[in-house]
């Protein structure tokens, strides 16, 4: 299938990639779908790689699947641990459960889980996780012959390598476009096991790669410091991935699914990143030959960034500028302060759920899939009973105030600081 066609004298993209978003809980799932994700990946109570995340019960998954269906979106469940013997009992029931609630597919690394799913839950699509660190076309060919529908490539693969893989093997390719990533080949790092006795390949990763170390050289029995006292310590913390500039190239390569990382990330992060990439993909596909990246999209991504970002391996070999030395994170410039529940067009009054402190006089920004971003200075704030408030102080408190432009449920309000 060709990627583009000429329609009415204009080239348009006919093979639009899936935009795949993370969701750590049901609310984030709904937001991801509402903000334009074509598919969402979530974790269950077991067999996933974020044992610290909220993670979904089967009931929540069922609700998520039903919600996603209304939008034509799919749900994938990460079951990408490398299992130990003790994880085998219970696996069959778990996979049958996923199939029974209508989950579309699972993301898997361990052949145990691949083959068990085939046997007991054959309706589930099986996608090979990036934990397998797939870096060449012949390995991809192997997994195609094993009957997998899709593979997630290693984050170490370049655009040129993906082009060749696409040419040689007819299988769906999923790649990461945004978010935090391993600095090691995924699945090939057990720092966490050695340093904290937490199993990285079963969801216990303590992110030892984000710590500082001192680099020495052994000369006989003496250790020679390879840094001065004023130098930043040795670090191997990667900047977060950001491939917004490469989306056109990725679409032209025919990559089937573009994946945003971050099941541990906030609802604000999910909404912001999904909505930006939704706009980029849609704009490029509608008119690829006149497409430009808009500055407001870049600014928007920056509003929720936890770290500096870089394109990593897709555009070349990352050097020291794609790592972080001396700093561990960057302060986000915006707080998520409220979620729109309702808006009365007659009165211009919004009903909103408080997510962070705000007060009259604050300048806030609204954003969401139905609206262009706009700023608003908040005047009087009332509670549900109509009592005027000096500030919206309480988490999840329902408040009302006037907003000049129309807003819609699930729109978000953020505040700079």
């Amino acid at each position: 299938m060709s990627i583009s066609q000429i329609i009415d004298g204009k080239r348009v993209i006919v093979k639009k990639p899936e935009l795949l978003a993370p969701a750590g809980n049901l609310e984030k799932l709904k937001v991801a779908v509402h903000y334009g994700a074509d598919a969402v990946f979530i974790g269950g109570q077991e067999y996933g790689l974020r044992s610290n995340a909220d993670n979904f019960t089967l009931e929540e998954m069922a609700e998520g699947v039903q919600f996603a269906k209304q939008y034509g979106a799919k749900i994938y469940v990460t079951t990408n641990i490398y299992a130990h013997n003790e994880n085998i009992p219970g696996l069959e029931d778990y996979l049958r459960g996923l199939e029974s609630v209508g989950v579309h597919g699972i993301i898997v690394a361990d052949p145990l889980i691949i083959e068990t799913a085939r046997r007991v839950a054959p309706k589930l699509e099986v996608h090979l996780s990036t934990q397998q660190s797939l870096t060449n076309w012949k390995a991809v060919q192997f997994w195609k012959e094993e009957g997998l529908e899709r593979v997630v490539l290693a984050r170490e693969t370049s655009a040129e390598e993906i082009r060749e893989i696409k040419e040689k093997v007819d299988i769906e390719i999923e790649t990461f476009i945004h978010g935090a990533m391993c600095i090691a080949y995924s699945g090939r790092c057990v720092l966490s096991n050695h340093m904290t006795a937490r199993d990285s390949n079963r969801g216990g990763c303590c992110q030892s790669c984000r710590w500082d170390y001192d680099l020495y050289k052994l000369e006989g029995d003496e250790a020679l410091a390879l840094f001065d006292e004023t130098d930043d310590p040795f670090a191997m913390s990667p900047k977060d991935l950001n491939l917004i500039q490469s989306i056109p190239k990725m679409i032209e390569l025919g990559i089937d699914s573009l994946k945003i990382e971050g099941r541990m990330k906030s609802i604000h992060y999910v909404a912001t990143v999904v909505s930006v990439y939704r706009k980029v993909i849609d704009a490029y596909c509608a008119d690829p030959d006149n497409f430009v990246i808009r500055k407001e999209w870049l600014d928007e991504l920056d509003k929720c960034a936890n770290r500096d970002t870089a394109p990593a391996f897709f555009e070349g070999v990352p050097g020291y500028k794609e790592q972080m030395f001396g700093v561990h994170s960057k302060k986000t410039t915006y707080d998520f302060v409220g979620l729109v529940l309702d808006y009365d067009k007659q009165t211009g009054i919004v009903t909103l759920q408080q997510r962070n402190f705000f007060k009259p006089g604050d300048e806030v920004e609204f954003f969401g899939p139905e609206i262009e971003n706009f700023t608003q200075v908040i005047e009087k704030i009332w509670d549900e009973e109509g009592n005027e408030l000096d500030a919206a102080r309480h988490p999840l408190q329902i408040v009302r105030f006037k907003v000049d432009r129309e807003v819609f449920p699930y729109n978000m309000m953020r505040k700079g600081h």
Partner: protein, 309 residues
Amino acid sequence: MKKPELLVTPTSVAHMEQLAQAGADAVIIGEQRYGLRLAGEFSRQDVADAMQVARKYGVRVYVAMNALFHNDKVDELSDYVRFLAEQQVDAIVFGDPAVLMTVREVAPHMKLHWNTETTATNWYACNYWGRKGAKRAVLARELNMEEIIDIKHHAEVEIEVQVHGMTCMFQSKRSLIGNYFEYQGKFMEVQQMKYAKGLFLYDKERDNKYPIFEDENGTHIMSPNDICIIDELGDMIDAEIDSFKIDGVLHEPEYITEVTKLYRRAIDLCAENREQYEEEKGELLARIEAIQPKHRPLDTGFFFKETVY
């Protein structure tokens, strides 16, 4: 009682001969273009020479092709596999399915050992790769004794376990040492320093030293301690584990030879005269402690450790 194979890592052909004399049953060799974290670099000529030594001593030779390959090396895999088949090496060690596919195409009778280092964590996965053509699975080092023995009970393939030496904790494609020197502005020193020997990362909180090095496959970070279970071999010998490996990466050849001799003695005693083994094992351990480099403490790896997640 069935004896496990004693598998060791020579640093050169000459060293391989010493290891054979020290009692090794098998060796793992190769070159970093295809294999990961080898004790020595063996060119094709070295492999041919190693086969001569192997025939003389009746030692088996396994060649490492367990790197993660990018497209650029896929086409040359078949040439190397053909070469190894001509040399009649005893097995090829692989992690990347591209190697398995290549062997099927050009040397279907070649034995394969599956070794990804970190992902052989359950018996089902071992048997899966067995059904795909592997004769042996090399277990992840992050397993405990009970898990290892349970895997062996369910295994349809040979099981190899590392009993001594350093293990790899981390592999990145990035040039992490080179990048640090560049970040420090020491551009002139990068090429010279990034391949320097004896580099380690110091972890203040744990007072650990992690060896770190770069090669063609990226940056590797190694465990702070050397596994040594020369005095704890009984359960695995009873379970008929097929191969015990001593990994000598980043160690001196004399050290590897001495450790090989001691494990030879330990395995023979443990299999043939358990009482004598129990009596002597403390001394065998003491003899390893005596030659252990100062910066490399011994421990028992994950054999008796509880891991959570």
